[in-house]
């Protein structure tokens, strides 16, 4: 038993250090995406109303350079789109202009990746698929190892036979009870 505990301690310590970075990634992203209905966890977005002299309802080929000139756009344009008779859209990197050709009203939409959050969410949601799948699988394995070795680190009243055992049971009961409730109600 002493050797077993020693092995557990070694594994728990070393893999624990290894897991710190990824645990922070998954924890921060978990909080961010859990509240995705409260905020956009990946992008910051801006809306800015502008106004230009109305361009009128001419053919797209004629109005396009006029709109671009009146907006003073000098950055590279990805594409343009005549969304309707009086609606013209211009797409740039991280920017979109919605132009009303009749009134001259313009909405400039800006969007940019949130620092840190976009990156950790990309990892957490495995948007890039392989090879992150392998890293995430390995991390899951490490978490299992930490969970299985943790209870055997300490013996006595604070270990598995004492307070530790009660906390362990509580930690297992929470998902167990929730699982039973959701299965019977959904």
């Amino acid at each position: 038993m002493r050797n077993f505990r020693k092995v557990c301690r070694t594994l728990h310590r070393d893999f624990g250090f290894l897991a710190v970075g990824l645990t922070l990634v998954y924890a921060v992203s978990g909080l961010a995406v859990n509240h995705a209905h409260h905020w956009d966890a990946n992008y910051t977005r801006t809306l800015e109303p502008l106004r230009i002299d109305p361009v009128g309802l001419g053919p797209t080929a004629e109005i396009e350079p006029i709109v671009i000139s009146r907006l003073g756009i000098t950055d590279p344009i990805k594409n343009t789109w005549r969304a309707g008779e009086d609606k013209f859209q211009i797409f740039l990197e991280g920017l979109q202009y919605d132009v009303n050709l009749v009134t001259g009203e313009v909405i400039r939409h800006g969007f940019a990746k949130r620092p840190v959050f976009w990156d950790v969410n990309f990892m957490h949601l495995n948007s890039g698929k392989a090879p992150w799948t392998g890293i995430a699988d390995a991390y899951a394995g490490i978490l299992v190892l930490l969970a299985l070795t943790g209870p055997f680190l300490i013996k006595g009243s604070k270990g598995l036979t004492g307070r530790g055992g009660i906390l362990l049971a509580l930690g297992i009961m929470v998902p167990l009870i929730y699982g039973v409730i959701t299965r019977t109600t959904h």
């Binding site: 990805k78 789109w81 005549r82 797409f91 969007f111 948007s127 890039g128 392998g134």
Partner: protein
């Protein structure tokens, strides 16, 4: 242990490097595309019922993307003003806003959804709000059918 640490660092570095190098001008979403021919968006919209239940491939510029979950993208038709919506399963494919203005080729099953009168009124009300127009629910007397591509995959060619 030192060897294990070095091995882990090597594996992580290789994995991350290959991820970084994987980015290119074309990005595949979901299952990508496999249908042999592309159907023009204007043809689909001209006779939408003819394509219901069929797996089709369409191409168009991305002009709108779901802001909440990236779960749909609107593609511009080859005819001005027309768009079709490609809806994907939440979380399975996530379209980022950066693809607006890029050329998207999407594949999926063309589906029709017959709305009830109440649903039709709700859609009309939302559209009127969006366009800043007046709306009277009593003007809506017939049920609407909405069409969309239930997307299984897409390829986005960045400009």
């Amino acid at each position: 242990m030192r060897k294990l640490t070095l091995l882990m660092i090597l594996v992580l570095s290789l994995a991350l490097a290959s991820t970084a190098l994987a980015g290119g001008k074309e990005k595949v979403y979901g299952k990508g595309i496999s249908a042999p021919d592309t159907v023009r968006v204007s043809d689909v919209l001209a006779d939408p019922d003819a394509y219901v239940g069929k797996t089709i491939r369409v191409t168009g510029m991305a002009v709108a993307v779901c802001e909440h979950r990236g779960c749909w993208v609107s593609l511009a038709s080859d005819q001005e003003g027309e768009t079709i919506r490609v809806k994907v399963k939440d979380g399975e494919i996530v379209f980022p806003p950066e693809i607006k203005g890029d050329l998207v080729t999407a594949e999926g099953v063309w589906t029709a959804n017959q709305l009830t009168l109440e649903q039709t009124k709700a859609v009309c009300a939302a559209e009127a709000r969006k366009q800043g127009e007046d709306y009277d629910p009593d003007d809506v007397e017939t049920c609407m059918t909405t069409y969309q591509l239930s997307g299984t995959g897409a390829v986005v060619a960045s400009k």
